[in-house]
Amino acid sequence: MDRAAIIGVGMTKIEANKSRETFADMAWEAVNKALDDAGMTIADIDNVVTTSSDFWDGRTISCMAVGDASGAADKNISCIEGDGTYGAFYGYMRALSGSYKTTLVTGHSKGSQGVSSLLTNAAFDPIYERGLGMDMISACAMQANAYMNKTGVTPEQAALVSVKNHGNALKNPVAQLPMKISVGDVMKSEMIADPLRKLDCSPISDGCCAVVIAHEAVAEKFKKRPIWVRGLAFRTDAFFFGDRDLARSNALAAAAQDAYKMAGITDPKKEIDLIELYDAFTYQELLWLEEMGFAEYGKATELLAQGQFDIDGALPVNASGGLMAGHPVIAAGLYRIAEIVLQLRGEAGAHQVKKAKTGLAHGVNGLCGQSHCVWILDQER
């Protein structure tokens, strides 16, 4: 297989309500930032993948709103529906399939314009489940209970994820919710669905992220040092919660193993320097880390408490503040990729981690992490 690299990234600030901007306005900003970052013009882009959701956007053919703003006029274009890591995955494959050399990938969402509870209720099976009225938060509370029951991890221990990530966000200018908070603050916040309190949950957010993926033949021709894609994979678990082990994530374990294999990584704990993952809820950061092999099952909380996942820890996790600090659904995984790229270039500013040669970015689709996408990015080919 040929290689590809990420050569440009652009992020809008993540905000609770971008009431002054349309989807196209957000895409325009992110795309131009990514092109400027790469030292490219739109003429250097030979194909475009947008990532959007007809549900979240309240619009059939939601990609129609951002194609022109993404510079796709008279270019080959397609649209992935799902997390931005999947959009980027498709963009990567297009850059390698012999048809194109430079893919512009965007992902956008405005949580502020819809009602998350109703939109995620629509992810439940319409015949057997939907009428019961569950949504993403109540479903993930069910997963949190399963996880905590099996591992003995407590809500207080998980709350430390919120403390760390909101604290990290203080150093990230694009984050929506930078906050200096304590475990006590998390435990005092409103209980939404046991055991998830308000500060265990990522916020409703608006934002757009764009990245440029280039085939190795052209990756070094532009302004920035290419950040190489060493490995990537995605896997989807069973749909019905009762078909899965809800306390675990087999799909993530499998996707991570696939990505490590492709990257030639045998000991992820030693070979990966930092992680940006999809912490939509506090327990998820722990569970996802464990399934990817960075801690024994049920033990990530110990490493967290030791500070190992802090910005200056042995394995920084969500130095950007992660989803806790801003969760534009659909775009969120693409932000993770962009953040890793900035870190590996040494351009992350105040939240720059010390050792950043190899990084992992992670995205999620579906309820309770049914589907996971894992990227291994590297300074070197």
């Binding site: 015949i127 069910m142 029951n149 209980m191 939404i192 046991d194 009762g242």
Partner: protein, 155 residues
């Protein structure tokens, strides 16, 4: 955004997508719901190859990828696999449910997979994973998942 828009009032256009749906349950789900409605019985399809019994019912075994041809009776009692307690009035919660709403993932005896439903007649603080629960059938049954009113603890 550039300065030419400084001071512009951001107008909001309120709307809603209003598309009516009529989902065909299909033969498999219809068979399940008709038994529930008319007999207050819970039945489930079994895979002829691996023997797994599926709830919610599935026409095709996802592992063997062959059609399930046999149906078996499943108990109305089972074990709680996990649960969720909503304390906030989430927009998705049906209008007739009062807070706190408790949902359970219930593996019925005789089934290999668990189904989602309400837990009721229980203090949320007493809900424990592994507890035994039993289906309470609705008085008025119309051929849907709420023909089971909820599950309650077996005492």
């Amino acid at each position: 955004m550039s300065d030419i828009f400084k001071g512009i009032e951001p107008l909001i256009y309120e709307s809603k997508i209003n598309v009516p749906y009529s989902w065909w349950a299909g033969d498999t789900a219809s068979k399940f719901f008709i038994n529930l409605r008319d007999e207050k019985k819970i039945i489930a399809p079994r895979c002829g190859s691996c023997g797994k019994v599926f709830l919610p019912p599935r026409k095709v075994c996802p592992a063997c990828f062959t059609e399930n041809t046999e149906w078996v009776s499943v108990s109305d009692e089972g074990t709680l696999v996990s649960y969720s307690v909503a304390r906030r009035k989430l927009a998705s919660i049906p209008a007739d449910k009062k807070l706190p709403v408790v949902w359970g993932l219930v593996k019925l005896d005789g089934a290999d997979t668990a189904i989602l439903h309400f837990l009721d007649d229980v203090d949320p603080g007493d809900v424990k994973i592994g507890m035994r629960v039993k289906a309470v059938f609705a008085e008025q049954r119309t051929g849907g998942i709420r023909d089971i009113s909820h599950f309650k603890p077996v005492r």
